[in-house]
Point group: C2
DNA sequence: CTGAATCCCTGCCGATACTG
DNA sequence: CAGTATCGGCAGGGATTCAG
């Protein structure tokens, strides 16, 4: 009853996972969760910076000069909400905040690598 | 000069790839290319349907009833432009069009799997 | 130094109606 | 069957200004 034109038996993996059988884009879908974490301009670049190590607000501004304060604040809040990073206030003056990836956030490394690899493939 | 707080030497992979050193979100970045292909509501669900086999316009409407004709048309054009799928007109009446993933499009399987896996992880 | 508040503009997406 | 045309609401994101 499938529309497969080739005779392969169904391969294991996501498209055959029954939990992937949503008829609409629900936010609880794991794919949606990940895409929501990465959604929006600049987001992956902020993650890339943090994959290289902890950063302060100013560090990130220096690394991404065309990124406005507002959007950087938005992105950091979005990534904190998604459990990707945590904020740490450092004592003393001037006030400093250090942004650090959580273990979950570090696991985005392989995800970004998969996105990179697909996009780097030449297509006929 | 790194801000690493741990003593690990830099791991191989994307964040240390010099080609990943963009200071702004340029469309030629492989990560941007992939995210652009998957961008927008319903896109991943259309890809999922096609990972299960060829589909006609009506097949896709039946599988995703809440998806409007206009957005479905938009998504199919977007995915064709990205080299993910191809359109094939079938001869005869009524007119039928079959949508098929390209090899490049089938390679999105592992990418979606990576997105799924990260989103399925519980976070503390 | 690290943001918050505001304004405005643009593009996405849904709904509806129509066509070869 | 497989689309196209048009319209409108709403959220994303950039610029600017202000605050703790």
């Amino acid at each position: 009853m499938t529309h497969q034109t080739v005779g392969h038996r169904p391969r294991p993996g996501l498209p055959d996972d029954p939990r992937a059988d949503t008829a609409a884009p629900v936010p609880s879908c794991p794919v949606e969760i990940t895409l929501a974490a990465l959604r929006g301009r600049w987001t992956t670049l902020v993650v890339r910076e943090l994959l290289r190590g902890d950063r302060s607000f100013t560090d990130l501004r220096r690394a991404l000069p065309a990124l406005s304060d507002k959007v950087l604040t938005d992105r950091l809040a979005q990534l904190a909400e998604a459990g990707v990073l945590t904020r740490h206030r450092l004592p003393g003056r001037p006030p400093r905040v250090r942004y650090t990836l959580t273990p979950h956030g570090r696991d985005l490394g392989p995800v970004l690598q998969a996105l990179w690899d697909w996009g780097a493939q030449r297509r006929g």
